[in-house]
């Protein structure tokens, strides 16, 4: 297998403030419950989440449906307004910035969505889609836009003669390339990639994963890579955060997390991944019992205690805090 060293970028050891610093982020969605307008319940989608992303680094965020990983991504862009917490990008706190100022911040942060079918306007050509951010932000006009779009097409592996085609004329993988080109147009410092390869077939997924790594090495872009597929996250990430019911339960550099997972949930998640190797015996698969609890009525104490194979009495009452067990490796579990 071709190997490829990316230590030049994303060392995570850069001095000074991180590119993105998220502190105590919370997002509660209110839901109506019952007939009285006053009876409201909350979905605790994101509950006190803190992390940072360095320049040129990929932070993978993994977790199962409803863990809040997508909400984290959208809240950082303020596509969803946070309930509380700070979002600091490049030393500027954007969590309280007036909406009118957001446009300039969004130049630095772009997003790639999961579904390359619904995230592209079907009435615009691929070239118009990729060039639109340049127009909206008044960065270029006329022939400049055309040149830049042609450049971007080439960079993401699309042909220039495809510029005037419409999204439906492209395959899923090509559409995702259009989405990536659009995100690159403004030369952002950070791209939030929300399940960008999960709708793609294996052979196409590999192409897009390689493309994202190449682009990062070339342009030094940081990624917040949100996905449920652990093997994809392992491939792309420098560091990884594991979320469960709106909280980070473990965060560490890639090798520590995958070779030495500490949280029982991380361990169960890793052991649940089917291994594409029939000769390997599945020795110690931990199959978690039960379902993920509803984020509307999360369990008391440790959120994972209802499914945890090693929970003890105090896990039902005491909320564990993230604590550092090794440099850069944080876990929230009473037993660690």
């Amino acid at each position: 297998m071709e190997q490829h060293d990316s230590t030049a970028s994303g060392t995570g050891a850069s001095t000074g403030a991180p590119l993105l610093d998220v502190r105590g982020l919370k997002k509660y969605f209110s839901v109506k419950n019952g007939v009285l307008p006053s009876s409201k319940d909350y979905v605790y989608a994101v509950d006190d989440v803190s992390f940072h992303v360095e320049t040129g680094e990929t932070l993978g965020v993994v977790g199962e449906s409803g863990c809040g990983k997508s909400t984290v991504g959208r809240t950082i862009l303020r596509l969803i307004e946070p309930t509380a917490g700070k979002i600091i990008i490049d030393n500027q706190d954007i969590s309280a910035a007036p909406r009118a100022d957001l446009r300039s911040f969004r130049r630095q942060m772009q997003i790639i969505f999961q579904d390359p079918y619904s995230s592209l306007n079907p009435r615009m050509t691929a070239g118009q889609i990729v060039g639109e951010p340049l127009r909206v932000h008044n960065i270029a006009n006329g022939s400049e836009i055309r040149d830049r779009v042609a450049d971007l097409f080439q960079r993401v592996g699309l042909r220039k003669d495809q510029i005037n085609r419409y999204p439906h004329e492209f395959s899923g993988g090509q559409r995702q390339r259009i989405g990536i080109a659009r995100a690159l147009a403004l030369e952002p410092k950070l791209i939030i990639a929300d399940e960008p390869v999960s709708a793609l077939d294996v052979s196409i997924q590999a192409q897009v994963i390689n493309l994202l790594m190449d682009l990062q090495d070339e342009f030094g872009i940081a990624f917040l890579f949100i996905a449920h597929d652990l093997s994809v996250v392992e491939r792309l990430s420098h560091r990884v955060a594991v979320m469960y019911l709106g909280r980070i339960v473990e965060i560490a550099d890639r090798n520590s997390l995958f070779t030495n997972p500490q949280h029982p949930y991380t361990q169960a998640l890793l052991s649940a991944v089917p291994v594409p190797d029939p000769s390997r015996k599945k020795v110690q698969r931990t199959i978690l019992k039960g379902d993920i609890p509803s984020p509307m009525s999360p369990p008391t104490g440790c959120l994972f205690h209802t499914r945890c194979p090693v929970a003890k009495a105090s896990c039902k009452t005491d909320v564990p805090q993230l604590k550092e067990i090794a440099p850069g490796h944080q876990v929230s579990c009473h037993l660690r």
């Binding site: 297998m1 071709e2 190997q3 490829h4 060293d5 990316s6 230590t7 994303g10 060392t11 995570g12 199962e64 449906s65 395959s171 899923g172 993988g173 090509q174 077939d201 294996v202 052979s203 196409i204 997924q205 590999a206 192409q207 994963i209 390689n210 790594m213 449920h228 597929d229 652990l230 093997s231 994809v232 392992e234 491939r235 792309l236 420098h238 550099d253 890639r254 090798n255 995958f258 070779t259 169960a268 998640l269 890793l270 052991s271 649940a272 991944v273 089917p274 291994v275 594409p276 190797d277 029939p278 000769s279 599945k282 698969r285 199959i287 978690l288 039960g290 379902d291 993920i292």
Partner: protein, 355 residues
């Protein structure tokens, strides 16, 4: 009617589940769809056998024809858009493709049943899950209502639904995705079918729930002895579940072999490329921050309306020759139990194949 239900409870160990007895023979199946772009050969000459008690994995990327194959077996292709235009599907001595609607209905859901990827769309939202299972049982087994309900309850217990006495009267929307898939499985197995067709049964589920369902399907196979056709794009699921594997590409089978052989000595370049392109846990461990690239298959799957001449994989194949362009390679035996459709895997040079 020739088909009668055998009720032997042969204990089959997990390691040696399949027997030589063939329960289903698909021969030269052809299913076409009729669209504005013309006739699309979604399934083009697919042949395979299913042995009693085995799990046969049907794997391939979107549009390869794996789901259409399974729908064709039970004649579930919507007649407005497509049609099975050739071949046969032998279940015992009967050809399912020539059966009358009524006879077919006796087999569907009874002898051969099916579970789908999205249990929410496959379940009736305005009926309790219990009533849906009871309905299935009563249609096929002619049991009185209270006995059918007892049987439904038994099935819910079998698929490990917690508090089954309570859950039997709930509606699908009140259950989680994993629970709904368990209900689907309970319903599919309620008439003790010989064959279960599972179309991406774990794809919509989270990984910890997927592990539960894979476990359940294997347990069901062991307890009930049903053969399973498992359709999936996930090679990890295939490796953990299947005994034999059929790999499809652009409507045709390109390779077929026992699961260990598919993964250890894949013969078709497409299978080889697919296996290399899957990211595997632990494989990316490089010191520090270094990352490794994935191996890829260049290009994309061809549109069925615009298939290349000869071998459909040729434009993406590094080993393609002039012969691959001129003639379509037939699916041939390359080793015991191992078939592949490729001119360049070492075998005989005597046959010339079809043109």
């Amino acid at each position: 009617m020739e088909i009668s239900k055998s009720s032997d409870n042969s204990e089959q160990s997990e390691r040696q589940p399949s027997s030589d007895e063939i329960v289903l023979t698909v021969d030269n199946l052809q299913t076409h769809f009729f669209t504005q772009q013309g006739t699309l050969p979604a399934v083009d000459g697919v042949s395979f056998e299913l042995h009693r008690g085995e799990i046969l994995g049907l794997v391939g990327e979107s549009g390869c024809g794996k789901s259409v194959t399974s729908l064709s077996i039970l004649r579930l292709i919507p007649s407005r858009s497509g049609k099975v235009v050739g071949g046969s599907v032998k279940y015992g001595k009967v050809d399912l493709l020539n059966l009358g609607e009524k006879e077919l209905r006796d087999i569907r859901g009874n002898e051969i049943s099916m579970i789908f990827q999205e249990p929410m769309t496959a379940l009736n939202p305005v009926m309790t899950v219990g009533d849906q299972i009871i309905e299935t049982i009563r249609i096929h087994q002619k049991l009185p209502k209270n006995e059918a309900r007892a049987r439904a309850l038994e099935m819910l217990k079998l698929v490990n639904i917690p508090a089954p006495e309570k859950r039997i009267d709930t509606y699908p929307h009140e259950l989680s995705g994993g629970m709904r898939q368990r209900i689907m499985i309970a319903m599919a197995l309620s008439c003790d079918p010989k064959i279960l067709i599972a179309d991406e049964p774990t794809t919509a589920l989270d990984v910890t729930i997927q592990a539960q369902i894979m476990d359940l399907l294997q347990e069901m196979r062991r307890i009930l002895g049903a053969a399973i056709i498992m359709i999936t794009h996930d090679l990890g699921v295939i490796a953990e579940m299947a005994d034999r594997v059929v790999v499809m590409y652009a409507g045709r089978i390109v390779e077929e072999a026992p699961v260990r052989e598919i993964f250890s000595t894949p013969l078709h370049p497409y299978t080889q490329g697919l296996l290399k392109a899957v990211p595997r846990l632990g494989e990316a461990e490089l010191p520090g921050q270094a990352r490794s690239r994935l191996s890829t298959i260049p290009g994309t799957v061809p549109a069925l309306s615009d298939l290349p001449s000869g071998c459909a994989f040729r434009p993406r194949c590094a080993a393609a020759t002039a012969r691959c362009e001129a003639e379509r390679p037939p699916l041939e035996q390359k080793a015991a139990g191992h078939r592949a459709a490729c001119w360049n895997t070492r075998t005989d040079t005597t046959t010339n194949g079809r043109s």
